[in-house]
Subunit: 299 residues, 2 copies
């Protein structure tokens, strides 16, 4: 599916000449290790890779990301976008990832203004934090306008949850990774896993920026296995995604930001069950299940 | 239990005069919000708080932590210790937390040398990352020596898992938080929850630093609901904890660091099941369960 999409881009993108040159570095996503179980038996299990990728922008060290390593180039693009260090990928000339040295070399066309200053402030975020310029993000929240017409049908929600359930994944084989996915309505566009869940979001942001045409904002639905923390909600909003679905719950600030920005936040989504934590007016109950179900507060 | 422990400290600590003055700021840990479920029914559920706490060291802004807010003073102490900004709490004169303004004012006795330089390098870690000086931590790993005599009995492991299972918690009432706990053998010393799981670890580090006498390193067992990522393992090692137990799995770098530093890493620990991912020689199988059990790779 990636290949087709990229072919489409290459064939149709008017900004083709401005698209960054990307390597396609790959590395094993899991590794088998010897374990001992409760019976004292030795066996082998797969565990997810966790690699350090140090990002250099115009030869200046910016940050080190700990990642599964599935899509490092999209991750770096998305990180730069979501950190507001670039406003468009047109500003990026190339991203060159080399797993041998765990480095991603980013070349910009005109440099990044005031990069020291803009990367100075650190915030340790709740989820798999990005040390991101959170204050800056909060300031921008009120300027974000999500498409008012965007809605999620309960039937679409169920198809989304089911599509995730059926996905072959590193999680199923090795556990210990988070998954995020972008949907166009109930159609899966991209499924990304990472040991750091914000890396998965950033990877999707990087991929989205490369697409032409883009999924219309009103049809964007974002799925995450992780909790809906403030930063997850803010990132979805700044990615112009009006509906977010999570297998997990939500934190107070995540809920407040979602309410404030008009984002429909659905959590605890498993099988036919879910809770809408914010902006339920965007949710159309067209597929109410037959029987009452029992829910535990735990996720 | 906290009260007793602190009384003991006050009564017996020879470094009493050097203990930092701490506020005991408190704030609600959960909040009830209105939700809509899969039947279109409105109801109310509790969600965990998520607060931004900006840490100022000698009036200089250092970092903003997103936290549940249960033990902010211990969190700040532990953060400064685990980030290697102070080597002992003797260097701290006071920590004053004010939730009204979301600020923690730290006063040091002699200032922190080269603080700009030492907080310059950012790493986005896999778990609930700390933007910590990860490179520096890795460099120090080989200098860490964990007590060679430390072992974990399977019977102790089961008592630990059961003690956590029985604990009343924000997780049970609101979900979406991680728990960490410090044990002396199988005796629970401190149970901490936070929306950011590294905050929970740092809170335990801060609390440990205030104790006198301390739990002997050879008897320290650390429990976390979170994954054993590289940074979780490194933090445990630098806290002189030789055994770590997780409900979840482990990442490749977490496993490699645990193996390298001689830390016994036990994961997927639920009921009678578990997998030992590193240094199984520290594990004594004194309570092998009767029946073979089935395990899924998922956590």
């Amino acid at each position: 599916m990636f290949a087709d999409t990229l072919d489409t881009v290459l064939a149709t993108s008017p900004t083709l000449m401005r698209r960054p040159r990307l390597t396609s570095a790959s590395a094993p996503l899991t590794r088998d290790i010897a374990v001992v179980n409760e019976f004292g038996e030795q066996s082998s299990v797969a565990i997810p890779a966790e690699r350090d990728l140090t990002v250099y922008v115009d030869k200046r060290e910016l940050v080190t990301l700990m990642t599964l390593g599935a899509h490092p180039e999209w991750l770096v693009l998305g990180y730069l976008l979501n950190q507001r260090l670039v406003t468009s990928i047109d500003e990026i000339e190339s991203v060159t990832v080399d797993w041998e040295v765990g480095a991603a070399a980013v070349t910009t066309r005109r440099g990044i203004e005031r990069i020291e200053e803009r990367t100075a402030r650190r915030v340790v975020t709740t989820g798999c934090g990005q040390g991101s310029v959170f204050g800056g993000l909060m300031d921008e929240i009120d300027r974000i306008v999500l498409p008012p017409e965007a809605v999620l049908r309960q039937s679409e929600l169920y198809r989304i949850v089911n599509a995730i359930r059926l996905k072959e994944s590193t999680y199923k084989s090795a556990g210990s990774v988070h998954a995020c996915a972008l949907f166009d309505g109930d159609q899966l566009q991209l499924f990304v896993e990472d040991v750091g869940r914000h890396n998965a979001v950033d990877t999707i942001a990087g991929w989205m920026a490369l697409q032409y045409p883009q999924v219309p904002p009103a049809r964007r639905v974002f799925y995450t296995t992780g909790r809906l923390t403030s930063e997850m909600v803010i990132k979805a909003a700044q990615m112009q995604v009006p509906v977010v679905v999570s297998r997990s719950g939500i934190t107070q600030m995540g809920q407040e930001v979602a309410q404030r920005v008009g984002l429909c936040a659905v959590g605890r989504a498993t099988h036919t069950r879910f809770l809408c934590f914010a902006n339920p007016h965007r949710l159309l109950h067209d597929a109410v299940p037959p029987l009452q179900t029992v829910r535990s507060p735990q996720d």
